[in-house]
Subunit: 398 residues, 2 copies
């Protein structure tokens, strides 16, 4: 049921004809009443028009609807792109009788190409007419592009529910577009606007920032969190058991979605989970984890089934984070491949690499790095680099 599993939400999806493939390309999520809302947005300097619009509108902590299109990213489209985002969300607001400032927007597709506004506007009546509490899966499917699977997750804890869905980590259009990540998480827990942003930044942000398929931050990446409060009860506030319960439920859904995104990443045969501990700070740990997960040499080694301690060590050492090399331990799964900054001599003996090799052949490869300098830790979730990645991103051109 994804985003309509929590009470108070309806959703729909349709084919507006905005992209040549003729697949569904327009989706709408609407809450029965005004929601608490928070958003996380791309840091790309060329943030798309809908990113600017949604960031501005959600800053009050309130939202009622989200319009999502694929086909055009509406990025690098200048002032006309901003007008297109305004026009299309205004049309949704009018059809639903809402304040336009409560309608958010997400786009994904070709960068630079003008939004196909005529097709989009033409599809709004049907889209609004088909809104349904059963619409979660249709919404989740309509937001996908080259995804091979629909990504959704739900959880229920006592009185409240959380649901989510996502698209991306695949090239969206065959010719010009980027791997944009769009994530929608809903809950019927009662979280007031002052606190919804904190849940987004403390729970969702670390999860989604840990994901790196190709190190490329899209112009359109967006994570939206909406709370309908339809589960009833007192507002959930920090420092209470209820708060922890909501945070845990959100994290469970986010973790599931992140893993689904990684597993469906372009050409990916292995998910690579990099865990860094013992850093001076969480920021240092994160920089090391990202350096390892984004290393082309590590990614191709995993694709080739090669444990290769030297490549992991190279990436750690080139991360820019300072540490004494002699304090670093690296394990693949539980197999040590670097101990106190050195590759053990036994690794180079006959058969000495076999344990590590078995670990790197698993669908989920765990690379554990301990810097030995402090309490900071972080994780990054990456994928291998395969022939299919190159094929998808190079050959699928116009």
């Amino acid at each position: 049921m994804s985003v309509t599993f929590p009470r108070g939400f309806r959703a729909a999806g349709t084919t507006a004809g905005m992209k040549p493939s003729g697949r569904p390309d327009l989706a709408l999520l609407v809450a029965d009443d005004v929601c608490s809302a928070a958003g996380l947005f791309t840091t790309n300097a060329f943030a798309a028009a809908p990113v600017g619009l949604s960031r501005r509108r959600v800053s009050r902590g309130l939202a009622r609807a989200v319009l999502v299109n694929s086909g055009q990213a509406n990025a690098a489209t200048g002032a006309p792109g901003d007008r297109d985002a305004e026009t299309t969300t205004a049309a949704v607001a009018e059809a639903l009788g809402l304040d336009p400032d409560l309608v958010l927007a997400c786009s994904t597709g070709v960068i630079g190409e003008p939004l196909h506004v005529i097709e989009l506007l033409g599809a709004i009546p049907e889209l609004v007419g088909s809104l349904s509490v059963e619409g979660g899966p249709v919404f989740a499917e309509a937001i996908t592009t080259t995804d091979t699977k629909v990504k959704q997750a739900v959880t229920e804890r006592g009185s409240f529910r959380v649901g989510g869905c996502a698209k991306g980590v695949g090239m969206i259009a065959p010719d010009l577009a980027l791997a944009t990540m769009l994530v929608f998480v809903t809950t019927d827990a009662h979280v007031a606007p002052p606190w919804i942003g904190r849940l987004a930044s403390e729970v969702l942000e670390p999860r989604f920032e840990s994901l790196t398929v190709d190190g490329c931050t899209s112009t359109n990446d967006t994570v939206l969190l909406l709370s309908s409060g339809a589960a009833g009860g007192d507002p959930v506030v920090p420092g209470t058991p209820g708060w922890d319960e909501v945070a845990t439920a959100l994290d469970e859904v986010a973790a599931s979605i992140v893993l689904q995104l990684a597993e469906d990443a372009e050409g990916a045969g292995h998910v690579v989970l990099v865990t860094v501990t013992g850093a001076e700070s969480a920021e240092d740990a994160r920089a090391v984890a990202r350096a390892v997960a984004d290393s082309l040499l590590v990614k191709t080694a995993v694709f080739g089934g090669d444990p290769n301690p030297g490549r992991i060590l190279q990436a750690v050492g080139a991360s820019g984070v300072p540490f004494p090399p002699g304090s670093v331990d690296i394990r693949i799964g539980e197999v040590p491949v670097v101990v106190a900054g050195r590759v053990p001599d036994a690794y180079f003996a006959d058969g000495g690499a076999e344990g590590a090799r078995a670990e790197v052949e698993k669908p989920r490869v765990e690379l554990n790095v301990s810097l030995g300098t402090g309490p900071g830790s972080s994780r990054a979730l990456g994928v291998d680099l395969s022939y299919d990645y190159v094929r998808i991103n190079a050959e699928y051109t116009t």
Copy 2:
């Protein structure tokens, strides 16, 4: 003649049997007298033992010989690795009757594996015995590993000469090693120790830092500059025409070597020259140039012959450098694909991308980014990402 083209240098190369392939794996460069010398070394925290040794010894600005081995990188080898670097350079010093502090060392090969000291020491008598002023090409060949071509360049200006050679930007050993870049530049111009370091950092460093094959900084990267002074004449000092002449000659040799390294990079079919202008500072320009040259989406687009303004724009925008998006222009060759932060509508018309497509199909693809905010400029030299890159780095495993 590479490094022995300038007067005052002899060189040699041999097969010591340190690597399984049985190809030449040991090389020696010796000056007739003490040289002014400077080095540029990897910033990787796991810098190899020979990097530490050479950095320490060259810090006085003097050197007489350089011993280079392939097969083992002597990185992540701990205190025994440091001793091995001392032992082997001491053996060269003894065979030549030199102060050991004047003997530098470079290694490239498998990270973590102990240096094959017995084979190395056994080959020193023959290596020293075959030193010759004709030895430049043999030296240049003996330092190569998976390079498909020997990389060397020379120039002569009036009274002085410059020569250089390099290896790398290919995987060194099929199983464990990294793309290490080793560069040796010699001149018989008379440059005193206080100034040789300035030539290295002002002329050689920007050239070699502009090269990025896969964004991975090796544990062993080294650039060494030796000046014999054998051309005679007054010492060359900054602020004189002689200084500018030497700097220009060094840059000519360095530029040639950098281009040769890029053209022979793993799996590379296209060299990508990214030029960034109009940044607030050279550092900002450099960050943007590197972000574009290292972008997997840009690299695969070039491989696929796809001009793709969106991918270039995405990389510029995700570089972390601040700028107003509306001031950015991007050209592929001379063809504008982003004007004032927007992809021109004409690009999406029938045939609108053909001019840009022709540019991206050239062997040398020029991506020109103007940020429009200041006087800072920089260049990065990268390559495309091909099936062969993945094959070389994934399939060639033990």
